[in-house]
Amino acid sequence: MTARIDTPPARDDAGNVRKPEEAAVATPVRRHPRDPNESGALAKVFGYGALLLTVAMIAVPLYFIVITSFKTHPDIYSDPITWWPNPWAPENYSYVTETMRFGLYLRNSVIITTILTVVQVTLGVLSAYAFAFLRFPGRNILFIVVIAALMVPNQITIITNYTLVAGLGWRNTFQGIIVPLAGVAFGAFLMRNHFLSLPKEIMEAARLDGTGFVRTLFRVVLPMSWPTVAAFTLITIVTEWNGYLWPFLISDTADVAPLPIGLTQLQQNEGLTNWGPVMAGTVITTLPILIVFLLLQKQMIKGLTAGAVKG
């Protein structure tokens, strides 16, 4: 992910819009009604046709995946395909959780994602705060060092990180998966931009009150920054939940492997012969993150667009 170094489009969290062109995905844009003769019923029909096509392109494969996870073996291998499981086969799920130990994979995903998110958000907020408000020699150079880590693609670090982790005896351990992924670049960038967009008077007032630097963070700055912190947190959760290459290399057994790796394992075991359980595993892998997304998509989108859209 590359990022722009400029101020994010932002309403500061006190709610004053600092830039008129705030990108809030959910608020409808006021449009002037065009001349009804020009864009009348035809445009509407076209619009709704396109809308239906869009829904079909995305919803039909998702629906197909979910119903396949509830089908019995003969039902899956029927031609033409059936659009409703007959009979229902919830045993695909019990097979996956009991025989294939998907409960363990789920637990591992939760452990890895939780620890990485807590560590990255903490490190990101603290270092961004220092970069935004403290004066120290080499500040700009060090900030560039943090940001430039974004430009280093993971395929160039995996080989030598693997030898390091293997040398430490950390293969197939949680710390082997977590520690190398714990450094944070994008979040530090996002939070620093946000802190710099806060009104100067606030820091000034805290300073005149003699409030300590760390206390200012918790009492003054963070309460005004929750939306940005939430955006950063959500992006981190999604990224780590779905992370693949590094855990794939480091985890050998179900004791530490997260869900996507468990799913790969399941697929290799069941081959191309037993799609019901494989689809059940896919649903188990996907459902938690989809629920998080549906509840908190606004905050997540805010984080994604902050680095991208010019403010």
Partner: protein, 312 residues
Amino acid sequence: MTSSTISDPAAGADQATPPRRKPRTNWREVGLAAALILPNLILLIVFTYRPLIENIRLSFFHWNISSTRRRFIGLDNYVEWFTASTTPTIVFNTVVFTVAAVAGSMIIGLALALLLDQKLLGRGAVRSLVFAPYVIAGAAIGVAFQFVFDPGFGLVQDLLGKIGLDSPNFYQVPGWALFMLTVTYIWKNVGYTFVIYLAALQGRRKDLDEAAEIDGTSRWRHLTRVVLPQLRPTTFFLSVTVLLSSFQVFDLINVMTQGGPLGTGTMTMIFQVYEETFNNSRAGYGAAIATIMFTVVLIITVIQVRVQDRQD
């Protein structure tokens, strides 16, 4: 942790702003900054910058991932890669996949953003639906889409059958396998390009729209003359971001095709790095390919920074 006040000794209680003096280094502040920044910095240095340098160094050696014995062989790894008979195929696959992923997800993402920027019933729900695949793990989508594309019993063959067509064999014909991977990746990634474009559409200046309306400019002309030029910075940002992320797609390939069929049917550079390093035990050769990839990423990034500086 002790809390220190950010106080400038020059600031008196009187409201008159003191003359700017050269700020002296405040050692308490430096100490605090070190405490806040160093943990993250050390992690990045140890697990990002150190392996980067080390990877470049080790690309000049012949070595095996599981042993410490290394033999210096100079540029041999690079020479071998540039002269290997499979390299043109692998480069071709990588380029086709990335270019198609960029073009496909950006064009569709923009079209959907334009559509869902209109006042339509159910717009909010469809926006969520379009974005949803982006948050699903690539591995999960890859596994599931294997069955979607199953030539015998999948969804795609069924739909093709309805219009009287036979399904191509996506698992045995290299071209079709690459096509399947690309379509799957675009299906997932449109969520991202769509969201970024939509935010840009909502954030653009609208004062020209009214003039266009008064002039009676056609919708198409308005789009090409006013809206698209306004979106140019976003288009540029997305093309670079999607290029870099599609260049590094591993999970999808690993679960769908493992680089096959026929050995190199869907082999891309990132998959070759993995294959050579971990399956063929040729870590030096893998490191050389990774270094070549890094060089490409670096060039693209430098171009991006240059262009953006011009834009600002």
